[in-house]
């Protein structure tokens, strides 16, 4: 049983969260706390495995709790539940910096409860599964700072973040390709996501900025609020590589960043030197992108349905007949690495 403590100043929120978690029998709600001081006390007495933590609270806020926890005797995993504001996003980034293990947005639109609850439970299970090994060595050691000639693209949405952990923690630091992750997220929240992934991956992870050049051994997370497109660029020595272009074009499938935009534009630039991976996600984003990649000669991988919380995005790729491999989550990192190495060989010939 995973022992969970819910920390939120709103009775309403505590009830909603508790009810969501109670549906899963592997979780046990050991208590609730309505402010930071209360939370610290209960953490030391109840010894929960994980706490869900609100940021805005009276007496002591969530960030102060994280600071206090550093010197506390018991260290539960912390899952921040953030509100959808730019302030909330900044606070979340700060929380990740202070050691919070993950974050999720507070439940919104309760009629969608089931999905949110599934996602929350999946995240908690993932955090407490023990599979989460923090990076052993410092980032960037093998980073040759060379411009990327190959690219790994990952498209992900609802249910995706825990899968990103699983994939990135297994990709080797010296992978000779640039990596771009397009994860559907509200504005402001891709920065904390990048900060969090940076702790898990073997290479530096950052949020995209307009004009960034793709580099081997660097992972980019598409900034929310704009589409990340990959433009062609030539290096000084005439090598072809890619550059991040932030486009303000309207949302596609109701989202921005759209996986399709990133995939399609990258297909133009990198052609066969692309591996795309589609993880869990709702909707049809990624189908057209995967199709473009396949036509350009790249490889398209989707994750097996049993490992996905939602199968919409992967299904859209199947419908476009744009899938080379269907793999369980655990096999994806190896496959990506193998394909990238194959590309290197091919180009050397």
């Amino acid at each position: 049983m995973v022992k969970v403590l819910i920390v939120d100043d709103s009775v309403f929120m505590r009830t909603v969260i508790r009810d969501m978690l109670q549906k899963d029998h592997s979780l046990e709600i050991v208590g609730t706390a309505s402010n930071g001081i209360d939370a610290l006390e209960k953490i030391s007495t109840l010894k929960p495995d994980l706490i869900t933590l609100d940021i805005e609270m009276p007496k002591m806020n969530g960030l102060e709790v994280l600071r206090e926890l550093k010197s506390a005797a018991w260290h539960p995993k912390t899952l921040m539940l953030s509100s959808l504001t730019s302030e909330g996003a900044e606070m979340t980034t700060e929380a990740i910096r202070l050691g919070a293990d993950d974050f999720m947005l507070k439940p919104k639109d309760l009629p969608q409860l089931r999905l949110i609850a599934d996602e929350l439970v999946a995240t908690i299970r993932h955090l407490t599964s023990g599979n989460l090994t923090p990076r052993q060595h410092l980032p960037g050691i093998p980073n040759k700072d060379g411009s990327a000639e190959r690219v790994v693209l990952i498209g992900s949405s609802a249910g995706g973040p825990p899968m990103l952990d699983a994939v990135l923690s297994k990709l080797p630091a010296d992978l000779p390709a640039g990596i771009v992750i397009t994860q559907h997220m509200p504005v402001g929240f891709t920065a904390p996501l990048a900060a969090r992934l940076n702790r898990i991956a073997h290479m530096p992870v950052k949020e995209t900025e307009n004009g960034d050049t793709l580099k081997t051994g660097t992972i980019f997370v598409s900034k929310a609020g704009v589409h990340t497109m990959i433009g062609a660029a030539l290096t000084k020595d005439g090598k072809r590589t890619g550059r991040i272009i932030h486009s303000n074009a309207p949302t596609i499938h109701g989202v921005r960043p759209a996986v399709d935009k990133t995939f399609e534009s990258a297909a133009q630039v990198f052609g066969k030197n692309i591996v795309s991976v589609i993880l869990s996600g709702m909707g049809n984003d990624a189908g057209a992108g995967a199709s473009a990649i396949k036509q350009a000669g790249g490889t398209s991988i989707i994750c097996d349905q049993k490992d996905c919380l939602v199968y919409g995005m992967a299904r859209s790729a199947i419908q476009k007949n744009a899938v080379d491999k269907v793999l369980p989550l655990a096999k994806i990192p190896d496959a990506v690495e193998r394909i990238v190495m194959q590309m290197v060989e091919d180009s050397d010939v």
Binding site: D19, L113, G231, K236, V255, D285, G312
Partner: protein, 652 residues
């Protein structure tokens, strides 16, 4: 969607608390900056917003979001409160309250339109140079995306639309591969939009007919920055970009999410779950139910006791006295649990004072004391409206406008003081203003005009009697009916409400100095101390609180005055109230119970006094209706149903 509905009542309960806290602290801010109040406000709005977002009440969330934006600035010290802003924010809180009412009834807040207030807030934000945050995008419009299949072609056909830009790209002069650089730039631009014209053409560049400068026009929605980045690259010397025109294009964004119509559902019964380990939220109807059971227990205890006495069973008597102790304790405990501090209704009042004062252009300082005094919930419920009315009156009729006050040698700012305290078995609430006081002559004149009294009566009336006129139905001294006070209801309604709570109201006034309204209330309505009396073999209960004294009845000292009969006790002439109609005439009346309501005394002749007892008053059932002189019934230990007299209505 039962999962959803089950949260509704919890949502409403918590949001009401936050709303109240919000208003309270906004009023604190009126008296100057207070960081603590600002923090409280921010947290309340934040929670309101979060909860309404969770429930999917988009309109309410929208409003709270804008308010949060404003307070974000204030909290960080980047802006200050102003009277203008205070007014906007208070108007917002009014809308929130309406929304909560709507939601409580099963709505989703969308029937209220906060757009005006939201615009004002945004305008305020813009004045401070902070553009209002764009409505944050929701990552996945889940319901919509699912039904999106096959719509992709639509997006492709309109992809070329968008504002048109002209670009001048200059490749660095020392570049070795000018044509390649230019072609990459053009290729990147093509990915972002539709290139309308290009000079020189791609073919020309391909053939090497290129001097290092390309002019092109492109229509794209990607934005200027994206276009510039796309065109820039290694060895591109400069990119000049200009917006040429904005063609009117159909919006390609997805239609605003259509809210699934929320079917009207019955309001769910309030949740009965325990929310906290230390504090329990209990539905008030359950408390009422427990109270009823306790009352039954009290009645049956009396009955058991009587049986034990009749049969003289000693063991049973002992056992009953043990039960009795537990029952008394339980009863006391229940009474305490039902007590809530007056601050529950007091907290709303500063807002009322403020609004009335502002409407009337008056300056008023409102002081509240004793908000911690506790009252039974049922009393509290009935107290809200009368109190509101009295407070409005105090500001509207009592306090004068600043100019008049200054002329009268008073401070510009009037004072209204509301205080509450416990006085033995009663709770006393006093409302004092230092305004003009009641003009007795004006009152009399008005009463004569309204035909309530004759001019002769008016001339002989005492001040107290004249003030009593204020409580007559249909009396109002206000020259015109305003929004604020006197909505067709007068003090008579106030008086009636207070009396229905078994309380009384008293007025003291000094012209030019101000008035005091004093409400005397029982802390609880359910259990009353009564004297059981017997007339003509029937029993009646008279509340002890109305009884002044018990005296011998000397039949020879009665006199007739008009239709009525009077008697004298210690040289005081008292009207005799015969209860013939109720219980039939008795010739064996030996005792007089002198009762008093306000300042009027009278006496009731009875055969015998049986004793004093705490009883539970059960209201008469609705089909009997209200009966003058009887406030309810009680069941005594022997099962006898006894009417409880209501002295207030009996005298009329």
């Amino acid at each position: 969607m039962s999962e959803f509905e089950q949260y509704r009542s919890l949502f409403v309960a918590e949001s009401r608390e936050n709303h109240e806290n919000l208003v309270k602290n906004l009023l604190v801010l009126e008296n100057g900056a207070d960081q603590n109040a600002i923090d409280e406000i921010f947290r309340s709005i934040h929670t309101l917003k979060g909860a309404s977002a969770s429930m999917g009440f988009a309109v309410m969330e929208h409003l709270c979001h804008s308010m949060e934006d404003v307070f974000q600035l204030i909290r960080n010290g980047n802006a200050e409160m102003s009277e203008e802003l205070e007014n906007i924010l208070l108007a917002c809180t009014d809308i929130i309250e309406e929304m909560l009412d709507d939601i409580e009834k099963g709505g989703d807040s969308s029937s209220k339109n906060p757009e005006e207030q939201v615009q004002l807030l945004h305008a305020w934000l813009q004045q401070r140079g902070t553009p209002a945050r764009e409505k944050t995008e929701i990552p996945v419009r889940r319901d919509e995306v699912e039904s999106d299949t096959g719509n992709h072609s639509l997006e492709e056909t309109v992809a070329g639309a968008g504002p048109e830009y002209t670009l001048t790209i200059v490749v660095a002069p020392d570049c070795m591969m000018k044509d390649v650089r230019a072609l990459i730039a053009i290729q990147n631009l093509e990915a972002l939009g539709t290139i309308r014209t290009i000079q020189p053409s791609k073919e020309a560049i391909d053939e090497g007919k290129f001097d290092g400068t390309v002019h092109l026009s492109i229509s794209s929605e990607a934005g200027e920055e994206a276009l510039k980045t796309a065109a820039l690259g290694t060895e591109i010397a400069s990119v000049d970009i200009q917006l040429t025109e904005t063609p009117v294009t159909p919006q390609t964004g997805p239609a605003p999410a259509k809210k699934a119509a929320e079917p009207d559902k019955k309001q769910p019964s309030a949740s009965d779950k325990s929310r906290e380990i230390k504090n329990l939220r209990v539905d008030i109807t359950q408390l009422d139910h427990i109270m009823n059971l306790v009352e039954d227990l009290v009645i049956n205890r009396g009955r058991l006791k009587q049986i034990a006495e009749e049969h003289r069973i000693k063991e049973m008597d002992e056992a009953i006295s043990m039960v009795e102790r537990s029952v008394s304790e339980l009863q006391n405990l229940m009474m305490t649990i039902r007590m809530i501090p007056l601050s529950h209704i007091f907290n709303r009042l500063p807002r009322v004072v403020r609004d009335v004062a502002q409407y009337d252009h008056k300056e008023v300082e409102f002081i509240m004391e004793g908000g911690e005094t506790e009252l039974d919930r049922s009393v509290m419920d009935g107290l809200n409206d009368p109190l509101l009315h009295l407070i409005r009156n105090a500001v509207n009729h009592g306090i004068e406008v600043p100019e008049i006050r200054e002329n009268a040698g008073k401070a510009r700012k009037g004072t209204v003081r509301l205080s509450a305290y416990r006085d033995r078995d009663n709770v006393i609430i006093k409302l004092t203003d230092d305004g003009a006081g009641i003009n007795v002559e004006k009152v009399k004149k008005k009463a004569v005009e309204k035909g309530l009294i004759t001019a002769d009566t008016a001339a002989t009336m005492s001040t107290d009697q004249a003030i009593d006129l204020l409580f007559q139905p249909g009396f109002s001294t206000a020259d015109k009916i305003t929004d604020i006070s006197g909505r067709g209801v007068g003090l008579d309604v106030v008086k009636r409400s207070i009396e229905s709570l078994k309380g009384s109201i008293k007025v003291e006034t000094t012209q030019g100095k101000g008035s005091t309204f004093e409400l005397l209330l029982p802390p609880t309505m359910a259990i009353v101390d009564v004297m059981i009396v017997r007339i003509n073999n029937r029993r009646l209960a008279i509340p002890i609180s109305s009884i002044v004294e018990v005296a011998n009845f000397k039949k020879d000292s009665t006199h007739r005055i008009g239709k009525g009969e009077v008697t004298t006790i210690r040289d005081e002439v008292l009207q005799i109230l015969w209860l013939d109609e109720m219980v039939g005439r008795s010739d064996r009346c030996e005792i007089l119970i002198v009762v008093q309501y306000q300042k009027r005394k009278c006496c009731i002749p009875v055969d015998a006094v049986e004793g004093q007892q705490e009883i539970v008053v059960k209201p008469l059932s609705s089909f009997i209706g209200t009966t003058k002189g009887v406030s309810g019934v009680t069941i005594l230990g022997d099962g006898d149903v006894v009417p409880v007299l209501d002295i207030n209505t009996m005298q009329e």
